[in-house]
Point group: C2
Chain length 427, copies 2
């Protein structure tokens, strides 16, 4: 079900190369179809959204917006244990994200000059939530709560209508708990375009976040600049570093918790212990038999999974930094010691009792993380993702006079004489 | 040279609509040409960069990298006044950007749980600097200094070779002052692709920043995700809010300081004073006669400039927030009072002695700012642009045990049984 490779500098390089390329395909037909949808929604608004909804989702609801009472009713009717779990998760997520919040600053100098940077929440944010089996309430919490903490004035959720006409009730429950302000029924590229441009019924937003299929992702990519978007997300990944003291049942379970997401998901174990490698293989076989998504797990472990037996810990660290995984579990003796050495990872899970699903659902840090090696330069979704910054400058006549020769000199050297003139005209 | 419009809700709306559309054109031929270049550089490395350099720049230097001695020599031989001005600008820019720096945080709870967010400078950043008349030393300072403050380990500059074979000496001087580590000679889409993938001679970077022509901008856009990029930049803009006390010569000079950049640049005055509007028209005529770039100024003022006479200050503020300009000058009585009310702007220049070129060259805040109304959601280039964040979680067995029912419940509700299994297997 999974290949075990001894690190020899050749085999595992090939394997890691395959891994990085798995999300690079760009489908020109998808781009053409999505471009057409975007153009239609821009030109015709609601009418176009309605036409595409009928074409792709079977029928279109009479009104796009779900009334507030229906959202409240979903919350009132929900299983109270489930609501309790989501509420406790929300508290932890909110608590962690509050710590990310930055203040505006001002530097008010004694010579009268003032400069600074103002930080303010975006005005309106759109949260896309997929329909069907990929409608995850945890994803609603993880996307909406940091926006709320950033003081975004209005959070608008959009999700494809179910066959029955409404929305998935679990999604509505999560929306109510997270503080989503309005919910609309539309899906796919037409929903993304509606949020980017605004229609008669659906308000224009400043940023669109949330997962989606290839049509949603392509629409976001094409509309980047007209609207801000969250990162370009690829298939999910886990990398586990484990030494001979790590329990194989834990290692195997955690590899599969990522592998079950998608046949393109990747789960890799780096270990110095040949014994752990063999025990993990056995545990994968044993535990997977009882799991509902065992076929997806088997395929993703076969195609994009691996156990790499490394010569030493330094080699493990070097691979981890090269792979730059979305999720990085460190099941090593004294796990905290590794935090500084691991340069690239979306989220680092330290120790035997910090499995990745703890982070997906409950601990507090965001579960929207950079994938496909982009942790080299992208960061987890955070409060910073939902703010805009502006700088400001206030100079006095005297201080500008002191600076005028420097400014005029650089401007003229660059051949920008109107820039120089704007200083000279004042003196 | 510039149209004067009375705000009546129709004329100026049309005008602002034109403004927003001026950078939306996507050229399919450019995309096709750039895609070919990117594929070639990815496949053939140096050889492809060399071929394209010969084709587009006439000839290719023997080696791409400029030796450190040549950079030092450019600094030693430069005009000392110019070097002094750049050094003073650098001090101010560095001082301002130091205030933007954020710390990693840890939340170490009394129950043994630890969580936090680590912030670290990117490993290597590429700075593209255009050749010819658009080779601006100020741009080198504004892009390199925040990277340096963010503790980026290596800053690599790349710039097209001059006809003479070398690089613009002013650019090398700015690179030396700003602390750029290595400089390479290549330009266009081939230079961007080389930085994104790495070649035998040119190192792969994590993020590419800096201005460039349509080929450079398209290459950055297409490679976004393989590498991080700075924002999608459009033509430059200034919006001035001025009341009857603002001096018309200052207003006119500042409008032209933006208009000289480019025939697509936009310069707009919002005023409550018809008298100021008329005086500004006269000053534009008078002052522009002496400016070297008067033809560009005349064309950009004609096509994308306007003076809008507003009924009251509230109307001015509403337009300013709708336009979301790159540069916003507030030449109003008590200018500081407006800072809170102005929601969308890259940089705000308050008072009669804070002209936009002060910010371009000297004061300290960054001059790389969101254009074309994207200040609604994008922010100025900053230290934050050059860091990556990772979250981390350390849970203990006891605390995970307390949380296990909540995690399992949400995981199972989402149908992700391998997620639930990863918790259950531990207890």
């Amino acid at each position: 079900m999974i290949q075990v490779v001894k690190a020899d500098g050749i085999q595992e390089k090939k394997l890691l190369g395959q891994l990085k390329n798995r999300s690079e395909e760009v489908d020109r037909r998808v781009t053409a179809a999505v471009t057409e949808i975007i153009d239609a929604v821009k030109a015709k608004g609601d009418e176009a959204v309605r036409d595409y909804t009928i074409r792709f989702d079977g029928k279109c609801p009479t009104r796009f917006e779900i009334p507030k009472e229906d959202i409240q009713r979903a919350l009132d009717e929900a299983d109270s244990d489930f609501v309790g779990s989501l509420r406790r998760a929300k508290e932890n997520i909110e608590d962690f994200h509050r710590r990310q919040k930055h203040q505006s600053f001002i530097d008010a100098k004694s010579n009268g000059v003032m400069m600074g940077q103002r930080i303010r929440g975006l005005h309106r944010v759109g949260l896309y939530v997929p329909g069907g089996t990929a409608a995850y309430p945890s994803s609603v919490l993880m996307n909406a709560i940091p926006a709320k903490v950033a003081e975004v004035e209005e959070i608008v959720m959009i999700t494809p209508p179910l066959k029955s006409g409404g929305a998935n009730p679990d999604i509505l429950v999560a929306a109510a708990i997270a503080g989503v302000d309005r919910v609309f029924l539309a899906g796919g590229a037409q929903a993304v375009a509606a949020l980017a441009y605004g229609t008669e019924s659906i308000p224009r937003v400043d940023k669109i976040v949330g997962p989606g299929n290839i049509y949603v992702a392509t629409a976001k990519r094409l509309l980047y600049g007209t609207v801000d978007i969250d990162m370009v997300a690829g298939p999910s990944e886990i990398l586990i570093m484990a030494d001979e003291n790590a329990p194989a049942p834990f290692v195997a379970a955690d590899l599969m918790s990522q592998a079950e997401h998608d046949v393109l998901a990747s789960a890799i174990l780096l270990t110095t212990s040949e014994k752990l490698a063999q025990e993990t293989v056995a545990e994968l076989e044993r535990q997977s038999a009882a799991l509902s998504r065992r076929e997806i797990i088997a395929q993703s472990l076969r195609d994009f999974g691996a156990i790499i037996v490394c010569r030493d810990v330094e080699e493990m660290i070097a691979y981890a930094n090269d792979i730059a995984p979305e999720h990085l579990e460190v099941m090593m003796t004294n796990p905290l010691e590794y935090l500084g050495k691991l340069d690239n990872a979306g989220s680092v899970f330290l120790g035997n009792y910090s499995p990745e699903p703890l982070g997906d659902y409950f601990a507090g840090p965001n579960h929207v993380l950079p994938t496909s090696g982009t942790a080299r330069f992208f960061s987890p979704l955070s409060v910073d993702s939902f703010v805009k910054k502006s700088s400001f400058i206030y100079y006095t006549e005297d201080v500008l006079c002191d600076a005028k020769d420097d400014i005029v000199r650089i401007a003229e050297r660059e051949g920008l004489t109107a820039h120089a003139n704007s200083i000279k005209v004042r003196f």
